[in-house]
Chain length 204, copies 2
Amino acid sequence: MTLAAKSLSTVLAEFRSSSPTPGGGSAAALAGALGASLLAMVAALPRPRAATDDETRRLRDAGERCAELAQALEALIDRDSEAYDQVMAAYRLPKGTDDEKAARALRIDAALKAAIETPLDVMRACASAIAESEVVQTFGNANASSDVRVGVELLRAGLRGARLNVEINLDALKDRAYANRAAAEAARLTSNESGGGGAPTGPS
Amino acid sequence: MTLAAKSLSTVLAEFRSSSPTPGGGSAAALAGALGASLLAMVAALPRPRAATDDETRRLRDAGERCAELAQALEALIDRDSEAYDQVMAAYRLPKGTDDEKAARALRIDAALKAAIETPLDVMRACASAIAESEVVQTFGNANASSDVRVGVELLRAGLRGARLNVEINLDALKDRAYANRAAAEAARLTSNESGGGGAPTGPS
């Protein structure tokens, strides 16, 4: 049974339990799914103010994109836990003979790549949703402005949390070219994290 | 049926839907519950390193406290949506006569106070869990260090998101003494948000 199919209360209890999965990677994906969902909600709210057809279309497109990203992030909640389990399974492979050692090393590297690619996907989706937040904040219902800002806070937490999960798997990876590309993309995605809904949350 | 009892997938779909609840306040409480749960998980993991009895006790106490805070935050997910619905219900009360106007104003102020107190409770719980993160980061299993940092990211997003939900209800409140106290507490809780698990997430 996937985490997404379990009750929210059960999911939170599984995060609390002493089993290492679900862990921070799945939590980052869930934060992103929640943030993107809030943006989709605001984009779907009735707008009391008049709006041009172009504004209405841009808002609707941004909302649809956020809803898609939210669903992609929802799928990544479970995928991250599976990727972690695959890394652990690879490390447990026998290493008695040279052949076993070689096969184990290959499996570890493949599993680590999946465990890097999954939080990178979380980062990509969170960054894409943050990019949509400007349109949602500008054209969405003004009464829901704080929902956009909460959504951006959650997407940023998802982005940074996923980056931590990219980085913890980079050092052990033998394929350094891949590791360097992943590190560069993670840094780039984090540096672009500002968005229209992301105004400072301190007192104005 | 409470949000906590629904499947995670259903909860995310309800956040995405064009109904204003659940909204940013419930999302902030959920982010906090997730962050506190991660800290409780790390505190409960086996520790490969030797530890003194005092360290073991401090870690266990911090873990139990985070688990309690996570469950309090879980309850606040639904409470925030209920508080919002009460505010909307109060604004819909009749205001034809002077008596009706007076009764409506009283109900609005009472509902607004509950809609301020709920995200303030979210802020208090997130700040308390962030305060525990230092012990969890110092004495918890070092392999789960990134889980602590993701937990703190989520707790900070919950704290900031809840503050936005405190602030949106302050202006409409007639009881200015209460509003000023709430604003001051919200500012204080946000200024204390640093914690041991909250080291910078950039490359080291």
